[in-house]
């Protein structure tokens, strides 16, 4: 795993002139969820329907073959971004370009066919698997929809090969078992197998190991990295756990209240943090070392409501560096270090 991490970081060169192929381009993505309100509330607000701005003008690219981390606290909008990238949700505005194709231009039939190339893995494998389907049937399901040129026998062989590739051996025995008969870690392997069966290019992994026990996590991460090489995958790795992200991500984006506050190569973001929120997040991560004590004070309060986010920089009410203009001017991402951007007016002060 170490090998792949360092390889990945070295593979992202400092200058922009190198031609990195983009698998996903997210451009000015917005997703507002309107609040359901009754007639009375509508009259009070004079028909102006309030909305939760779950994702508010987010842009980033995912390079082919990388692990792109998207991190933030609950309510930051990171999972919504994951669903928008797969067009499981329709964006309010903005677009997602996947392998050169604007997904919003596709008809539902074209989109359906496109889905074989993009898959998602959720946090809870038990909720993702139908309890009445054997593991084999579950993995066969997407194959039956997308791999129509395969005969049932060929499909069975493919399912067994995939089961074996995710370490579920003997695969023909596991084929006939049900989800409740296997452990949590094994279930997540099956979910990965099901995602892989259609030979996708992109996997959106939404907290894929958050439910697994500590002693099982390392194996799952290792498997994900091995499958990435074997199947030539690109991951969008959504997580709240910055310690885990460190072991797998090549680049990382930090989200706060629907906006990106920092994006860059992982090592650079962690070592040369240029956003006060990222700083606080990194400082807050519990470290398994009793001799280490936290140095910096934590920002006051908690992540505010996304219905009425603070004006200007969303983080300003909690920010130790905030000045008067932070509550007025909204910062945009600007590149302060090679390929490393921040949305903070005063980030230069953190450059030292």
């Amino acid at each position: 795993m170490h090998e792949s991490t360092t390889m990945g970081i070295n593979a992202i060169p400092g200058d922009k002139s190198t031609n990195t192929e983009e698998l996903v381009q997210v451009e000015h993505l917005r997703k507002y969820f309107p609040l359901q309100s009754g007639l009375f509330a509508t009259l009070l607000t004079r028909g102006q329907i309030q909305a939760v701005k779950a994702v508010d003008d987010v842009s980033f690219n995912i390079h082919k073959g990388e692990v792109f981390g998207l991190a933030g606290e609950s309510g930051s909008g990171k999972s919504t971004v994951g669903r928008l990238v797969l067009r499981l949700l329709e964006p309010t505005t903005g677009k997602v370009i996947f392998d050169g194709i604007d997904l919003s231009s596709l008809s539902s039939e074209e989109m359906r066919r496109m889905r074989s190339r993009m898959q998602i893995v959720f946090q809870d494998p038990l909720a993702s698997l139908n309890p009445r389907m054997t593991l084999g049937m579950a993995i066969d399901h997407p194959a039956r929809i997308h791999l129509t040129d395969l005969s049932p026998d060929q499909r069975r062989k493919r399912v067994i090969d995939i089961l074996s590739a995710v370490g579920m051996n003997p695969a023909n025995v596991f084929y006939d078992l049900y989800p409740h008969q296997i452990s949590g870690g094994q279930r997540q392997r099956v979910v990965l197998a099901r995602a892989l069966v259609t030979n996708p290019a992109l996997i959106v992994a939404d907290e894929p190991i958050a439910m697994a026990d500590v002693s099982v996590r390392a194996l799952l991460l290792d498997l994900m990295m091995r499958l990435k090489k074997e199947f030539d995958l690109t991951y969008l790795f959504i997580t709240h756990d910055l310690a885990t992200a460190k072991y797998v991500c090549n680049r990382i984006a930090i989200m706060y209240l629907g906006k990106l506050c920092e994006v860059g190569p992982l090592a650079d973001v962690y070592q040369h943090t240029i956003h006060p929120y990222t700083r606080a997040l990194l400082e807050a991560v519990p470290v398994p070392d009793p001799t280490r004590r936290r140095k910096e004070p934590m920002p006051p309060g908690e992540i505010p409501n996304a219905i009425n986010p603070p004006p200007g920089c969303h983080f300003h009410p909690r920010c130790p560096m905030a000045r008067s203009n932070c509550s007025v001017d909204e910062p945009t991402l600007r590149e302060l270090r090679p390929n490393h951007s921040t949305a903070c007016h005063y980030a230069e002060e953190l450059l030292k």
Binding site: E73, V214, A218, L242, P286, P288, D289, R294, M298
Partner: protein, 333 residues
């Protein structure tokens, strides 16, 4: 019993009745909790740590039952008390904080009512006005503005609700607080602040805290001692500094090496083979032998006792001479 020990768990067994027969979720576990310490009880899901936490208050009902063992709290064996007397101890002397404060707080009761009701149930002589003053002082101390005391739980954030839970324990000056995954539903920044608060309360009120968690980082951050459970058994107990510097049990060794550390550069995560066992069919001998890199013949046959290995650090593992010596002692007796 030593005076500095607040709670002594002796050879506790908790069984669940299932269709597949009796399952021991806590199997012959002993542990001393010292006055004024924060002791972290760690283990993976299903290892029995939460069952143990509930057993300390004799909270089990339904299929769960304490079948063996003694629970010495502050000089009394709680197992010999009639169960009707337990409510006087729960809340008043032992407080509990759970993972999800929303399910612990009454959604139709204001924070104020939670606190005054708690105070007046156990201390009926306290007037309404006095109870309110006490409640306000308390939540201010915990970092919630006292104007918010008339709010309902849903109006507060997750971190504040967890503070309210702690205030309920402090309202009656509980001697021991059992906190079961208190920060698991909180985001990291809120978690960090809550942990700082627990540490302050420990110093200020001389509070003793049993911190049950799967998060090794949280234990490292605030605990004085650590106890490690695996498959219903206690595997290792010791001071955090000792255990993190030199874990004795192979399970602890593997567990600590498989925790991601944000400060370590270039380290590889240890990939422990296998998964925790099914407790309805636990492995023979040492429960960890199926995954242990140092497994010996004796490990498959006999359960190792928890014995002192070095200083105040104990482990249940046949690799150590003191554990072996205990076995020989038994044979001779």
């Amino acid at each position: 019993m030593h005076d500095d020990i607040l709670y002594s768990i002796r050879k506790l067994v908790v069984e669940y009745t299932t269709r597949a027969g009796a399952v021991k979720a806590v199997d012959d576990v002993s542990l001393d909790i010292r006055r004024g310490e924060i002791i972290g009880l760690v283990g993976e899901s299903g290892c029995g740590k939460s069952t143990l936490g509930k057993a300390l208050m004799r909270l089990h009902t339904g299929p769960a039952k304490i079948t063996e063992g003694e629970l010495w709290f502050d000089g009394r064996d709680l197992m010999t008390l009639p169960i009707e007397e337990m409510p006087e101890i729960r809340g008043a002397e032992i407080g509990m904080v759970f993972q999800d404060p929303m399910t612990s707080l009454n959604p139709v009761q204001r924070i104020l009512d939670h606190l005054t009701e708690t105070i007046q149930t156990h201390e009926p002589e306290v007037s309404d006005a006095d109870a309110r003053t006490r409640a306000e002082e308390l939540i201010e101390r915990l970092g919630i503005r006292k104007e918010r005391i008339t709010e309902y739980p849903h109006q507060m954030s997750g971190g504040m609700r967890q503070r309210v839970m702690i205030s309920l324990a402090l309202a009656l000056r509980a001697k021991l607080v059992i906190a079961d995954e208190p920060t698991t539903s909180l985001d990291v920044i809120v978690e960090a602040k809550f942990l700082d608060l627990l540490k302050e309360l420990q110093k200020e009120f001389g509070l003793t805290i049993l911190l049950i968690t799967h998060n090794i980082g949280v234990v490292a951050e605030i605990s004085d001692r650590i106890a490690v459970m695996y498959a219903a058994k206690m595997m290792e107990v010791g001071d955090v500094n000792d255990v993190f510097a030199q874990p004795k049990h192979p399970y602890t060794q593997g567990l600590l090496r498989s925790v991601p550390n944000i400060l370590l550069d270039g380290a590889e995560l240890y990939k422990m083979a296998g998964a925790p066992p099914d407790l309805s069919h636990p492995p023979s001998g040492c429960r960890f032998h199926t995954r242990c890199p140092f497994v010996m013949d004796i490990c498959r046959e006999e359960v190792p006792p928890l014995e002192a290995i070095e200083g105040a650090q104990s482990a249940a593992c046949w690799l150590y001479p003191s554990v072996m010596a205990k076995r020989l002692e038994k044979e001779h007796a």
